[in-house]
Symmetry: C2
Subunit: 244 residues, 2 copies
């Protein structure tokens, strides 16, 4: 860990950088995941490194959708496991939803190390990929899922997703809630609800929103929600930053 003072204006960003590097050293995060983290850093910088109104709006709709889900599942990759294990586990608890490991780059044992990392942080259980159930429309390793997890899910919460799998899940008729700092990414564009925010800031807010949920018109909230409009707002925010 570096000695970034807490008063540094970019303290959170610099601390997260150390956390994700530690994730690589522990064999949880892939080397490609570091590059993805850097892309996220750049977009976070552009949205002001703070949770913006378009993210708050998406979080509210996501809470409604996840509350209404019959079988919500939380998909975990090596980046989010390193950055926010406690918040993932909390989300699983408030939703009574399983966590399932699903990664793109399958270096030997990494899936198992992610599982152990989550169990060490007191996850009650963690589902693993199987060859018993496979997603359609996808060729990569990410097609292997758990029959009682992602395979059966009606709503999948997949922070820091890749575009191919997001598309496959949607084609299979599943709703997808994602957290992605790039409003132009394929994932952001194809998800049902995209929270354009840093996963470290968004996850605790989403947990709180679900815990205190009291929207009698939850179905209307979901029906009225426009992901396109939210992404447009995020793009406009980035655009204003560029004018600075």
């Amino acid at each position: 860990m570096s000695d970034v003072p807490k008063t540094h204006p970019r303290y959170l960003s610099l601390t997260l950088r150390d956390t994700i590097v530690a994730g690589v050293e522990q064999g949880i995060t892939s080397i490609h995941g570091l590059i993805a983290h850097g892309r996220g850093e750049a977009f976070d910088y552009l949205i002001g490194e703070t949770t913006q109104p378009f993210a708050i709006q998406a979080i509210h709709a996501a809470a409604a959708m996840l509350r209404l889900a019959e079988h919500p599942v939380i998909s975990v990759n090596g980046n989010v496991a390193a950055l926010a294990p406690e918040a993932l586990i909390q989300l699983g608890q408030v939703l009574n939803a399983p966590l399932e490991v699903n990664i793109f780059h399958t270096e030997t044992g990494r899936e198992q190390r992610i599982r152990e990392h989550l169990l060490k942080h007191s996850a009650p259980d963690v589902l693993m990929p199987t060859t018993d159930a496979q997603l359609s429309y996808i060729d990569s390793n990410r097609k292997f899922v758990h029959p009682e997890g992602i395979f059966k899910a009606d709503v999948v919460f997949v922070p820091l997703e890749d575009g191919d799998r997001c598309e496959a899940l949607r084609k299979m008729g599943k709703a997808v809630v994602t957290v992605d700092l790039n409003p132009m990414s394929r994932t952001a564009q194809q998800a049902s609800i995209t929270i354009v925010d840093n996963v470290v800031r968004a996850l605790p807010l989403l947990c709180k929103e679900i815990r205190n949920f009291s929207d009698p018109t939850a179905e209307d909230t979901v029906a009225r929600y426009s992901n396109k409009a939210v992404l447009k707002q995020a793009l406009e925010h980035i655009s204003r930053c560029g004018n600075g």
Copy 2:
């Protein structure tokens, strides 16, 4: 290496990702360098993954400044060494300027491995940091330089620089030419000339510009050049992208 087809619209970006990961595996690029690469990817995406007019303008002024320099030096870190060793060496040849290794994260032997990597790509010689000469205004490992290299330089070409050292070099009265995809970075803001472009695209263009240089008013070109105006154009470009 992955099997990205050449027809893929983002072929260069995906290939560079593999190159930089290979750089880490060879012990040339630091793990933190991967995150920096990811940030660069995001900004490259925003500028359209192509060399824009503001970069062309900066390249022309940089060619003039480097041509006029009495003692130009090329500072090399682990990212640029992995991404563009041949172009760095070519630039050294057209300028008759030494390459000097200067890195922030000094894992054991990395400086030496960068040197060997460049020699393997036919660099005539590579200067190394020494304790005989130190930069002022800087505490990190990057202060250690070569007395016949960066220490003596009037113009330092430092692609993918860090903000602290850029500031230190400027305070010491040296001119700095940098290549940085983020027009808002401290390096971009403080350099004498900032080429806002991918280093892999910009370096060959800079070499060509220097090789064919025939500007009888080179001093005027440098004097008239406004880095502030060029950075403003880059920001406006990003802003238009955000409006898309």
